[in-house]
């Protein structure tokens, strides 16, 4: 994948980058399908009917028990009225659509929804634009400088999220943080003990810097791998026709890498939208719950406030939003496959 196509930077990646960026579509299977139509293949691929089921059994069973069941449980919970007392008594009375009407009529909920969308939009836009630019830069560098930059990107990529959250907290520390020093040194006033986590918005700005920093490597390195598959003669032709960089990008690069851009954007949308760890570990959704995005909102409602039913309803609504995004993603993959 990216790591590898990056490691083998100069050798042309054998697999299309858009495929590696997304879950690889089903296409390669056709090879073995073809084999099956041959008479010998038919014999080979016709084990006594139960063997494939035996092989997939454990996987299907585990997914059903540990993924499907919690999902269903989540939906059931969302229709139940569970607060502290019910939780302790283990009695879960049904509340119909109570949790949902409460949520949809709650201004706070809508604030969090709007915040989540804004947060996702800002992050994904920054990730895609800066990531693509750095990918293009990688493509234009000499071998040595390219190695330096890609190693730097891999370092940021490899940082575990919880560890990088701690580092960013330290960088933006009120008293001794390097950021305040940097701002003072650059001549900005008011950065003696500037509290970067003072408001929800400023907290989310720090989270955004962290998320963008951590996500760009994936986009940039994939973008670079993608660019190496766009034939050099295409650039050459564009240059001979007198196209400038901007035109080359929109006329050559973008159409060629369109699947990559679409798939990566959707993946980033999904990843950023459910960025629980970054937001929660940064400031627990604070100050005053002002940096909560939907997953954090659900967690805080459920855990600290002991509104379990309500929290389940929040998470169901979050999942619905994600499913809408995912359905676009899957349609895209299917379409891409048909075009191949």
């Amino acid at each position: 994948m990216t790591v590898h196509s990056q490691g083998a930077a100069t050798s042309a990646p054998q697999d299309a980058p858009m495929k590696s960026a997304a879950a690889p579509p089903e296409a390669p299977v056709s090879g073995s399908d073809r084999g099956r139509t041959s008479p010998r293949g038919a014999r080979r691929s016709l084990p006594s009917g139960w063997l494939p089921y035996l092989l997939i059994g454990p996987a299907v069973l585990s997914l059903a028990v540990l993924l499907l069941y919690p999902l269903i449980k989540n939906v059931i919970l969302s229709f139940q009225d569970i607060n502290k007392i019910e939780f302790i008594q283990r009695k879960y009375p049904f509340a119909g659509f109570g949790n949902y009407t409460e949520l949809l009529g709650d201004a706070n909920f809508w604030t969090v929804v709007v915040r989540s969308f804004g947060f996702t939009l800002a992050n994904v836009a920054l990730i895609m634009v800066l990531g693509s630019l750095i990918g293009i830069l990688l493509n234009k560098l000499g071998t040595k400088m390219r190695l330096v930059l890609s190693m730097a990107l891999v370092m940021a990529w490899a940082m575990p999220i919880v560890a990088s959250v701690q580092v960013f907290k330290w960088l933006f520390d009120e008293q001794f943080g390097v950021m305040n020093w940097l701002m003072r040194t650059a001549g900005f006033a008011g950065y003696e003990q500037h509290n970067w986590m003072e408001t929800g918005l400023s907290t989310l700005v720090i989270v955004t810097i962290l998320v963008v920093w951590g996500s760009i490597p994936f986009v940039a390195l994939n973008m670079y791998a993608g660019l190496t598959t766009v034939g050099a003669e295409l650039y050459e032709a564009a240059r001979m026709d007198g196209a400038n960089g901007w035109q080359t990008f929109w006329k050559i690069v973008f159409p060629n890498l369109k699947p990559f851009f679409l798939v990566t954007t959707f993946l980033e949308v999904i990843w950023v939208f459910k960025a629980f760890t970054q937001v929660y570990a940064m400031n627990k959704g604070g100050p005053d719950r002002a940096s909560e995005i939907l997953p954090v909102f659900a967690y805080v409602e459920g855990q600290s406030q002991a509104h379990y039913g309500l929290a389940a309803a929040i998470s169901v609504l979050t999942i619905v939003i994600l499913v809408v995004v995912m359905s676009f993603y899957f349609r895209l993959i299917l379409k891409q496959e048909e075009e191949q």
């Binding site: 590898h4 590696s20 960026a21 690889p24 575990p160 701690q166 020093w181």
Partner: protein
Amino acid sequence: MKPAQKLRTRRPVRPGAVVKNAGALLVSLVFVFPVYWMFSSALKPSGEILTKDPVFVFTPTLDNFTKATGVDQFWTYVTNSVLVTVGAVLLALLVALAASFAIARMRFKGRKGLVLAVMMAQMAPWEVMVIAMYMIARDSEMLNSLPLLTAIYFVMVLPFTIWTLRGFIAAVPVTLEEAAQIDGCTRGQAFRKVIFPLLAPGLMSTSLFGFITAWNEFAMVLILNKDKSAQTLPLWLTEFQSAFGNDWGATMAASSLFAVPVLLIFIFLQRKAVGGMTAGAVKG
């Protein structure tokens, strides 16, 4: 005419190159700096951490690491993390190997549906389902249980593992298997002797990505395992920081300890891993 054109664009030292390289250097610096700052702060004597103007030259010390590892039950956290991660990855490899072989090599009713289910499961919003998981775990008396955590991490990395191994198996030519069978191998032997050895790079890279996912997981263990004796390193790290307040040197030492295995894996992976990895698991 064409070669001349080429020459004009390649040969002269363009002023653009300087700008490009300077830009690349600056970008590299931005990406490396937090990692560098983590390690360097971890090695700083405490007197040189809490300074208004950061100190860049100092005599490194391991004091912070001693403090970080001296935390009560540090080795419990380490053991838990290793157990849960390795357990989840091994289970996932075993279960996924069977499933991906069936998907890649056999035709059966419901195969398409399974493929679709695996694709969707790969995007499962685990972070959002913590409350439901918490209720299930509580009602079945499974809070603070390492086996449950292992099982959840196993299912988290399973779809990705199936998906990737399927690709690796599909890439092994069917004719190899056929040849083995003609030579008298049973189907199982053909798999063991022919396909399995060829899957080594695939197994390695999938398990490394699985390792990273499980090693980093935070939301589930946060809600399910409140008991310190059943927690993993990500929680140790966040709790360490809130307990030690602004002992940033020790916090950075703790962060470094937590990050080093993953950093090493990435460097390792980059050189060794080959083949079509998917991205899903990298970020979870």
